[in-house]
């Protein structure tokens, strides 16, 4: 029961209700919301941005941040498409090389944070410039076009309204949740996030937890970059350039604490669904695209301010009251 509450706190329930209401409103106001194509496009954006948010969440669960998610995703997409287009590498090998690079970038972040003890915000801000600079140094801001058709057709593939790439995201999300909630190292990672000193004194492998979290973050960023490359059908140097805000928005609205120790996977998923709905709704009603940025900012503020009056607290209060009355009855 305790574990279940950790996975799906009351906040998630509130987000779920808001998401469902949002879908209802959108399908009434703009019937084209339910069109197969619109659902496909929205689902595809969601598949990519959810990985971006989870990449941030896994580092936030340590009480750290990763500002280099976007530049890792961009660098990986460029390296993969460059290897395939320029050097004619076979698709699987190029993808493995790219994803490995993502993990290596994450490990570099993790090792540097652990070794130098520099504030992870500033450290990953610095490495993000290094990764982005290498990306632009290689490409000179020109994309790699004509990536192999296996990749670009995967970006367009769908089953009914469901994009095929959503399968990748679903599998990775489930694996990440399983790792954080069931695997010893995942639990240790959350323990380190909860109280690093206590974790160190209890003999937990703090360094391994830090490096692992950053490596997972780098890997998820790399997958997100790869999927966006497939969607765009080109290795574009600006891939990932706008990911900082959504990465934090999804996790913070989803209920993560910047101080660490919490990894609200379901909350993050539902928050990203909400952001995708807003994004899609604005497109469908032909609103100024700049409203997206404004509304995400308002949403973050609204969510954290509401979070003070915690829907979750209300839920636990109600549950607690019910349990108390039950105890009273049984007593």
């Amino acid at each position: 029961m305790a574990r279940l509450r950790g996975v799906a706190p009351g906040l998630a329930l509130g987000l779920l209700v808001i998401d469902l209401m949002g879908m209802l409103v959108l399908s009434v106001v703009t019937p084209s919301f339910l069109s197969t194509y619109n659902l496909f496009v929205t689902g595809r954006d969601l598949s990519i941005l959810l990985l971006v948010a989870l990449a941030q969440m896994v580092v936030l669960s340590l009480g750290q941040m990763n500002l280099s998610i976007g530049s890792i995703g961009g660098l990986v997409a460029i390296i993969e498409s460059g290897l395939m287009v320029r050097y004619g590498w076979p698709v699987p090998i190029a993808l493995v090389a790219g994803l490995t690079l993502g993990i290596v970038c994450g490990v570099i972040n993790g090792v540097l944070v652990d070794w130098t003890k520099i504030n992870s915000f500033v450290l990953t801000l610095a490495t993000s410039y290094v990764f982005a600079g290498i990306n632009l140094g290689i490409t000179h801001a020109t994309p790699f076009y004509h990536i192999p058709s296996e990749i670009s057709s995967f970006g367009q593939a769908r089953v009914g309204p469901f994009p095929l790439m959503a399968a990748v995201t679903v599998v990775l999300t489930v694996l990440l949740a399983g790792f954080l909630y069931q695997v010893v190292l995942g639990r240790q990672l959350l323990a380190v996030g909860g109280n690093q000193l206590a974790a160190r004194l209890s003999g937990l492998p703090v360094r391994r937890a830090v490096v692992t979290a950053h490596a997972i973050s780098g890997f998820l960023a790399a997958v997100a970059g790869t999927l966006l490359m497939a969607q765009l059908a080109q290795g574009h140097p600006t891939i990932g350039a706008t990911w900082v805000l959504p990465s934090f928005a999804g996790t913070i609205i989803g209920g993560a604490a910047l101080s660490g120790g919490s990894a609200p996977v379901i909350g993050t998923v539902l928050a990203m669904v909400l952001i995708s709905l807003i994004d899609d709704g604005l497109v469908l009603v032909n609103a100024d695209p700049f409203w997206v940025q404004f509304l995400i900012g308002a949403l973050i503020l609204g969510a954290v301010v509401l979070g003070r009056t915690r829907l979750g607290d209300i839920m636990t209060f109600l549950l607690g009251a019910r349990r108390a009355s039950r105890q009273e009855l049984s007593g």
Partner: protein, 334 residues
Amino acid sequence: VALRSSLGAQIGGRLSRSALVRQVALLALLIVTSGFWIFFSVAASGFTSDFNLFSLLRFAAIQITIGFAQMVALSIGDMNLAVGAIGGATGMFAGWVMQTLGLPPEVAVLFALAVGLLLGYGNALLITWTRINSFIVILATASLITGAMLIVTHAHPFSELPDSFTSFSEIGIAGLPISPLVLVMLGVAAALFFLYRNLSLGREMLAVGANRQAARMSGLSVDRVVLLTHGLSGALAATAGLMAIAADHTASPSLGSDWLLASFVSPAIGGTLLSGGLVSVPGTVLGGILLATISNGLLLVNIDNFWITVFLGVVLLLAVGLDRLTRAAGGVVS
């Protein structure tokens, strides 16, 4: 008053322990900067031309002012992620006041500074009211500010700014290749130096940054300090925005979007502690000059702009790494 002065004495004592290390670090920064000047004077043709020196110093002045906006927030142990958002929005606002309303530049400058001050103050109001982590609050407001600016302006630049405004950044002073913007920056630097060295508000800011809990226990009104600090940071961001539109001759909607790294680099190189409680105004000036010198010089010796981006990232890493070493050597615990 007694409490306040004893707090000041404690901080003073702590500074004097590490003062030697910090002086040495500042001297080293000066030597490194001079070294780069000598190197580029020899290696990069045109580095010492009046035109190049003029644009280099003007660029440095803007970068340093951006750094000041961040340095002020860092002094109380906060980060102002909205430096770019506020600078961009106030720059666009000033452009609108001059071009659309047709008001004189002096009025636009005053309005823009007031808006910057209010935006920073608004951030701090949200932080102190809600007690939400300042990072999250400012992440959200930065997005709100930039979003609102783009919605209102439809991302159209203001490119017909009055000559009386833009020419201010162009004229040389007494025949020297120095833009008046450099004097603006030096004036701001002198004011900040005085604030942190001589005014009780400056000392209170450092006390809050060094140990917020201890400052509160000593009877400081921490909320008041936070409000004034973020207001000042916003006004400085607006100053940088005004300087940038004067130098660019246009207020562009992308203004400020790339300020985040620069805002941290100059203070970090100059020895300002990211965790708060310790600032160096001369260090930030030198840090900004070093940053501008390297960017300018590398371009002149035909090194690709993209590698300069990599270089800036590495410089920030080295700067904060050295910062930790300095702290260890100076015995400052925070």
